[in-house]
Amino acid sequence: MEIIGYSHTFARGQKFAWPEKLMNKRIVLLSFLCALLMQGISYAQRVKGSDTLLPLTQELAEQYLKKEPDAEVIVTGGGSGVGIAALPENTTDIAMASRRIKFSEKMKFAELGLDAEEVVVAYDALAVVVNPSNPVDGLTREQLEAIFRGKITNWKDVGGEDRKIVVYSRETSSGTYEFFKESVLENKNYMSSILSMPATGAIIQSVRQTKGAIGYIGLAYLNPYVKPLAVSYDGGAHYAVPSVETAADGSYPIVRPLYYYYDSRKEDRVSPFISYVLSPEGQESVLEQGFIPVKMEEPGTQEEGTAVESGMKQ
């Protein structure tokens, strides 16, 4: 079972050294917790949810605590669903989520009369990669869907050489798998003969050594051994190559926002930490951790983001 834990680390931690760093952070957080229990003055902010956001939030919390030694932030993982479920139970103050809140979860909140606020704290982009020897430079969403669903099986159908397409995917347990399915395949299923790899590193290795390969990886993992494809979501009118810049200005389409959700009644308590996360300093660490920072002046570039926000606030 180690490989599963390992793959998460591999997928999200940008540095291999993070378990050790994590320990230090835990110790820091724990000592703050002890200090709090002894004094019992300030109120601890509990942050819970997505494992994708976990290392980033821990890093941010540590820096925030350096600036505000009196404050209190406790960060735990468990997955997006766990975090969102903990919000109405009042076992967390901020829920981290690597996906939008589901319609059914919104319904549940509405039943309980909970008014959840949504904040996009960072973006995470997925790059579609092929072998460097592949002459194809860009694909449309429709072509990608056809390839990952097994409707197109030869590179010559999309302007490449006469070579069989070998499609690599992540295992079903991965959040990346779900997001790619939602965004590129529009919730349809992958073909059954897809090759599923246990970790991002394995996909890179396989794409590197297989001429007809195609796969998807997090933007932070791009390296010279694989070639990223430009992607078009408007039928080929505009192609965008994945990079931090194109993902940030909204021209690269396979980008998922990473969210914090909180109860609007607790806004006073959570806003100092959230505004630190969204401050230039906080967004600097977002970039360092391999995510795409949110541009402060244009939170509305992602039209779905604003739609949800207005929907949530009503």
Binding site: M1, A110, G113, R149, E171, S196, Q205, S206, T210, G212
Partner: protein
């Protein structure tokens, strides 16, 4: 005092044997109850219904048909026994496309009614919605809810455990993949294993044997992840070049890695069996004028056949249950393999890769336990074979 001690030891041994057996039985019982739960799960995700327009005559759909509908592979109702009409699939996520926030209501109190009226006014629509949202007495036709059937699981050719609305749990590709890769692993390991065993027990000088035996046993101590990495970095690209394959991750790569992993077991057990061949038999053979080689293959190998067979079967057992190395080199494509050069997916790899995120108690979770039960039966059968072979060998010797 001595008597008391003896008694205490005896009780301790009995108790430990008893406790171990009970624990093993409990584990098996747990496996079986969890696995059997799959057949009590509904085909459509629990708590959800598939709602159709009242005019639509279709009332039952299999899981495979539901998947085809929502993947837009089947786009006309006449393919499913209905009227000639286009299928319009509707998921809850699509609600924002059809309705404004006002129509759904501030607290989504109108969402159920809005969706119900949408389905009622669109003849070809099939809506996947929570059962609690469908208003009482709505003018809708609900797809009959059935439980997952054994036929769909044991005869199914598609493994899509996370598909919505209806996951598919066809285990045939996984079963075929497991047996296929194990068969080839043993075909590779058998000749090598036996030759090494013969060499070590009959040919090699004691000095060489004393060096070789620990080295081969060392192979047993290497973690399987390391074999997996070795396979992924060395064997996979090699196979790709040698056979000119479009993809190197294949059953063959898996069988080669498994063969290497099964070797130590086969070698150790077979070599021990040959060395235990009675000295009198060898001497009698040599005294009758047989050469050393004739003695080996006419006397030593036949007399230690049961030991060799046990080693081979134990090696198969290791190959069948191996998880990590296979997960990394076989490509894990859930299709029924037609040749060994294709990617395939084995049962242990599936359990290892998917159990971490399968919601506890759900159909996916239970299906993984069912896979565990099947694996249990495969290895149980193999162990029975070992018992049978070694008891037959004993009967012949005596």
């Amino acid at each position: 005092m001595k008597k008391f001690l003896e008694k205490a030891v005896k009780w301790l041994l009995t108790a430990s044997g008893f406790v171990t057996s009970v624990v093993i039985l409990l584990i098996i019982g747990f496996l079986f109850t969890e696995g059997a739960g799959l057949f009590r799960e509904p085909v459509v995700e629990e708590g959800y219904v598939l709602a159709l327009n009242r005019e639509n005559p279709v009332s039952t759909l299999t899981a495979a048909e539901i998947k085809a509908v929502f993947d837009e592979d089947v786009t006309n109702w006449k393919d499913l026994g209905g009227d000639d009409m286009e299928i319009v699939p509707f998921r809850l996520e699509d609600a924002d496309k059809y309705f404004t926030q006002e129509q759904l209501g501030a607290q989504y109190e109108h969402a159920g009614a809005a969706i119900a009226s949408l389905v009622a006014s669109t003849p070809g629509m099939i809506a996947f919605v929570p059962g609690s949202m469908v208003p009482e007495g709505a003018d809708l036709n609900l797809i009959e809810d059935k439980n997952i059937s054994a036929g769909e699981v044991f005869g199914g050719k598609e493994w899509f455990p996370t598909a919505t609305p209806a996951p598919l749990f066809g285990i045939l590709p996984l079963l075929a993949g497991t047996l296929w890769v194990s068969l080839f692993a043993i075909l590779f390991a058998l000749p090598f294993g036996i030759s090494i065993a013969v060499y070590m027990s009959e040919v090699a000088s004691p000095k060489v044997r004393n060096f070789l035996k620990p080295v081969i046993e060392l192979l047993n101590g290497i973690p399987s992840v390391v074999y997996g990495f070795f396979g992924l970095i060395i064997i996979v690209p090699l196979l790709q070049q040698v056979f000119g394959l479009p993809v190197g991750e294949s059953g063959l790569a898996g069988s080669i890695v498994l063969a290497i992993m099964a070797l130590p077991t086969i070698v150790t057990v077979a070599e021990d069996a040959m060395r235990n061949c009675p000295r009198t038999l060898r001497e009698a053979s040599l005294a009758l004028g047989a050469t050393k080689w004739q003695t080996i293959y006419k006397v030593v190998i036949p007399s230690s056949m049961s030991g060799i067979a046990s080693g081979v079967v134990l090696g198969i057992g290791r190959a069948v249950g191996e998880t990590m190395a296979v997960l990394m080199v076989t490509g894990n494509a859930a299709v029924i393999p037609t040749s060994i050069l294709e990617p395939l997916r084995t049962i242990p790899a599936t359990i290892a890769a998917e159990l971490g995120e399968a919601p506890a108690g759900g159909a996916h979770y239970q299906s993984l336990f069912l896979l565990g039960v099947i694996l249990f039966f495969i290895t149980f059968f193999i162990n029975m074979c070992v018992e049978f072979i070694s008891s037959r060998g004993r009967a012949k010797n005596s």
